[in-house]
Symmetry: C2
Subunit: 189 residues, 2 copies
Amino acid sequence: MARAGLTAERVTQAAADLADEIGFQHMTVSALARGFGVKPAALYSHVKDAQDVKVRVASLALTELADRAAAALAGRAGKDALVAFANVYRDYAKEHPGRYAATQMELDPETAAADAARRNAELTRALLRGYELQEPDQTDAVRMLGGLFHGYVTLEKAGGFRHTPREVDASWSRTLDALDSLLRNWPPA
Amino acid sequence: MARAGLTAERVTQAAADLADEIGFQHMTVSALARGFGVKPAALYSHVKDAQDVKVRVASLALTELADRAAAALAGRAGKDALVAFANVYRDYAKEHPGRYAATQMELDPETAAADAARRNAELTRALLRGYELQEPDQTDAVRMLGGLFHGYVTLEKAGGFRHTPREVDASWSRTLDALDSLLRNWPPA
DNA sequence: CTAGTAAACTTAAAACCTGTAAGCAAATAG
DNA sequence: CTATTTGCTTACAGGTTTTAAGTTTACTAG
């Protein structure tokens, strides 16, 4: 029988794609093996276990997100940057629901995945250069933005906004208006 | 053999407690059965399947959250109400991580669980009575608050803020200051 | 070119979880 | 006190995870 040519990278890619298709929760080692036309045990030479696959997908997703965010931020500042940055997260979550779900995993701080998460936080901090925030306000704002983007996108995806007729896109746009306004008028301690 | 006295309610309670102990993901029908000193099959007379148990836990959690939020809102207005309300969600997530994780499930809109989710949104709207927001700004603000609370709490719990020395409590407090300021100065369309 | 070895994959198997169906025992009703 | 419903067990079919051992494929070196 011809070999499938498995590597940790190809398994991770396939896992990410499969998660986008059928949901991160339903992405199993067995399903992955089926996709490669291979027995489940074959994957364990390339990947430690099921948890390892999930962490790798999380790392991949966080890296892709940081890459897109960095590109969006290039040459932009102020509200323009804020909107572009925020839309990267929202669009990514819609385009890659499985990958995005992976980013919600608890990652222990030693891993490459945690590094990728840190890179995203750094980019949020870079975004704030367009606003005149000093420490510790800057850190507070980074956390607020991170939480807001993540939470809004998650609730929207989970259908939490479906019960009100108002267009979700309009609310999103106005939320970004409000955020811009807030960052330009951050209350003093 | 003496009977265990199972009911859907007791199973749901046990499931919620078990989820808080070992994590929502690891809460299985088998583990529940062990807790009751009963064979797994016994549970299927009281509960449709594993998914059903999870949805029931989500519903329970959302109801408990709404109850606490309603109590926190009673007799308070403005920033006082905002802080109390926000802390309900943050404290609940810390106290009941498994239950809180359950609230992140995708709920189809027909169920009792979705009703409980709606009740939470209504309470957020009630909170905004202390600020002078007209529609559609009110709906936009409800969505923003829901997303922010949920996202902040989720990221904090997932360890997303651990890499910066700044106290998470301090950032939370300042985030609420900022939100109060924003709601009092909501930008015009 | 061929023998040896390392890597890739399969087979086999244990342990666990989900869910259905059939059977037995305990509570309840007439 | 019998009859029936209800609650739980047994039995089982099917699926996933993971380890260990065996086989085949591909590479490496003499």
